[in-house]
């Protein structure tokens, strides 16, 4: 078996004097989509940012595969609800993903161009490539940011709620893009709120509660274990095939 793309051991993160993530260990291998689930405030974003090297660790280690390449080439990070602060064109924003390769907008290599074009096609942006990003809808902006992250062509993709502002069709299209990324040999760690979407597309689900990982298993096993009911304080039922999930009538509210 190949070495994991990402290996976090006993990670603890403190923010503002509060322990937000404690003793979290996870691995991510090539070809895998792992969904990070949990209620609001469970520490999903914090764990993802720590994994991306954006937060100092209180203790624990994070090891990233990809050899001696610079961090920016090994791991692409997609921010939750990311904003585009200046009105660049769609293509120029996507091209920012090539920055870790020392590419500037004036000097893009053929490899850069190919990565940018593929990413834009994957995210259904080719027809608005030259539009200014201040004229885009929320969903289009989200896809532009996703394409920017894909353009890095990093083995590891860390995505924080990439489908939050998308309509159902584009949600599925985006998840399919992530699946394609995994099929090409990448590893994807994605924070999601849509449980049905997560269980349908993820190879593995990691469940966070109060900053700790309480489950790390295949979607079928997660559904069978009823752990989701405990964490979200809701009653879920699987419908037919082992991966589809329905929300039952009984609602207790958050645990």
């Amino acid at each position: 078996m190949t070495a994991p793309l990402l290996e976090a051991s006993n990670v603890q993160v403190r923010l503002g004097g509060r322990t937000v993530v404690q003793d979290a260990s996870l691995t991510l291998r090539a070809g895998e989509i792992v969904a990070l689930l949990g209620p609001n405030g469970a520490g999903k974003t914090t764990l993802l940012r720590a994994t991306a090297g954006l937060l100092p660790l209180q203790s624990g280690t994070i090891r990233m595969g990809g050899g001696a390449r610079p961090q920016g080439q090994r791991c692409a990070y997609l921010e939750q609800g990311g904003r585009i602060h200046w009105p660049l064109s769609v293509r120029d924003i996507v091209a920012l993903g090539r920055l870790p390769f020392g590419s500037s907008l004036q000097r893009l290599s053929t490899a850069d161009q190919a990565a940018i074009n593929t990413a834009m096609e994957d995210c259904d942006l080719a027809h608005i490539a030259d539009q200014s990003t201040d004229c885009l809808s929320g969903g289009e902006t989200a896809r532009v940011l996703m394409a920017r992250a894909l353009a890095v062509e990093a083995p590891l993709l860390l995505a924080d709620e990439p489908v939050a502002s998308l309509d159902p069709a584009h949600q599925i299209a985006t998840m399919q893009v992530l699946a394609r990324q995994a099929r090409r040999g990448g590893g994807v760690l994605v924070v999601l709120h849509d449980l049905a979407l997560a269980l349908r597309f993820a190879d593995r689900v990691i469940l966070l509660q109060h900053g700790a990982i309480i489950a790390d298993d295949a979607p079928e096993a997660i559904i069978a274990s009823k752990v989701l009911d405990r964490v979200f304080g809701l009653e879920f039922q699987s419908s037919g095939s082992g991966r589809d999930l329905l929300l039952a009538a009984k609602i207790d509210g958050p645990a």
């Binding site: 090297g53 791991c75 692409a76 990311g82 200046w86 660049l88 924003i93 920055l99 201040d134």
Partner: protein
């Protein structure tokens, strides 16, 4: 306002004119060369372009006028203007905010305080290295103070208020220094100097300021990639391998260095740093890296033009160039504030 089908809706940031990309820099350079030649021709003694050409070679009276009076003035206007435009564009890129400029950090006022302390405490004469160094120190202190008080990632309003406080403090301290100065003529002199002018500057002044300005311009131009990455926010920029903390320090230090050196020789000249990037942005389409060079060139053009204007207006004593830039810049600033009221929270519904 009613919008009908077929109405042309102006896209606020879409590039206009055909002058974009490669054609823009040469076009701006030609504009600056034309302004520069005009600047050398105009003054108390009118010189023809032929006189100026001869003067540049040191021939006759024209030689003295051109080389010793008008050339230093032109070079200072060019370099200080370019620095103001560049530092405005850089701070806007760093803070991701089109209203940022050195003055919102109180940098020019604090630089003036540093220079005034050196000048009127008799520590040094008007052309010594102590002058730019003290001004740079003043600008640096004010910028750091605003950053520390407002905190990292602060809203622009917090920064504006902190900057206003620092600028007022620097202004008050400057008044105090003038009052305490042993030189009775200090008040008049310093008040005129504070308004900003390129009158009666020599090549010594040029030599004092330009090394610092050149150094900071190099640093700021090198930061362009980082500003572009910051378009996507701090976290994403860092994930792309940009050292955001270093970018911040480099920008503040370089801006303070360039602004301080400029203020040391020409006094406080405001609003060019705000206006120049705004004129440049429609030409390059919002990119915080591509806006840097055009902003510098437009800043230089504005100050050379303003310096021509002050010599054309008939007045008993020459109008100060800082007065002209304020007269143009303040209405533009107010216009920007009005057009962004919602952003400032001026709209009750937000």
């Amino acid at each position: 306002m009613t919008v009908r089908a077929g109405d042309k809706i102006r896209q606020p940031h879409a590039p206009f004119w055909g002058v974009r990309g490669r054609g823009l820099t040469p076009a701006l350079v030609i504009l600056i060369v034309m302004l520069a030649l005009t600047s050398l021709c105009i003054g108390a003694a009118h010189l023809s372009p032929a006189d100026v050409w001869a003067g540049l070679h040191g021939v006759g009276t024209a030689g003295i006028i051109v080389l010793e009076i008008r050339l230093p003035r032109l070079l200072l206007a060019l370099s200080v203007g370019a620095m103001l435009g560049l530092s405005g564009a850089s701070l806007q890129g760093l803070l991701r905010n089109p209203l940022a400029e050195p003055a919102i950090f109180g940098a020019p006022q604090a630089a003036a305080l540093g220079a005034v302390i050196v000048l009127y405490s008799g520590m040094a004469n008007a052309v010594s290295w102590a002058l730019p160094l003290a001004a740079i120190a003043g600008a640096l202190v004010s910028m750091l103070l605003v950053f520390v008080v407002a905190g990292r990632g602060a809203h622009l309003i917090t920064m504006l208020l902190s900057g206003l406080a620092v600028a007022s403090l620097a202004g008050a301290a400057t008044s105090l220094v003038i009052n305490l100065s042993p030189n009775p003529f200090a008040v008049t002199e310093i008040v005129f100097w504070l308004m900003g002018s390129f009158e009666d500057r020599s090549l010594h002044h040029v030599l004092l300021a330009t090394p610092f300005i050149a150094l900071s311009a190099l640093v700021l131009l090198g930061c362009g990639r980082g500003y572009r990455a910051l378009t996507l926010g701090d976290d994403v920029a860092r994930s792309l391998g940009v050292n955001v903390a270093r970018l911040r320090v480099a920008t503040i230090a370089a801006t303070a260095c360039g602004i301080g050196a400029g203020v040391a020789v020409s006094g406080a000249i405001g609003f060019v740093g705000l206006v120049a990037p705004h004129l440049a942005r429609p030409l390059v389409g919002g990119d915080p890296q591509r806006v840097l060079v055009p902003s510098a060139l437009i800043g230089a053009a504005i100050l050379v033009a303003a310096d021509i204007l002050v010599r054309l207006v008939p007045a008993t004593s020459e109008i100060k160039v800082g007065v002209v830039t304020a007269l143009i810049g303040v209405p533009m600033f107010l216009y920007l504030v009005i057009s962004r009221k919602a952003f400032f929270g001026g709209d009750a519904s937000t």
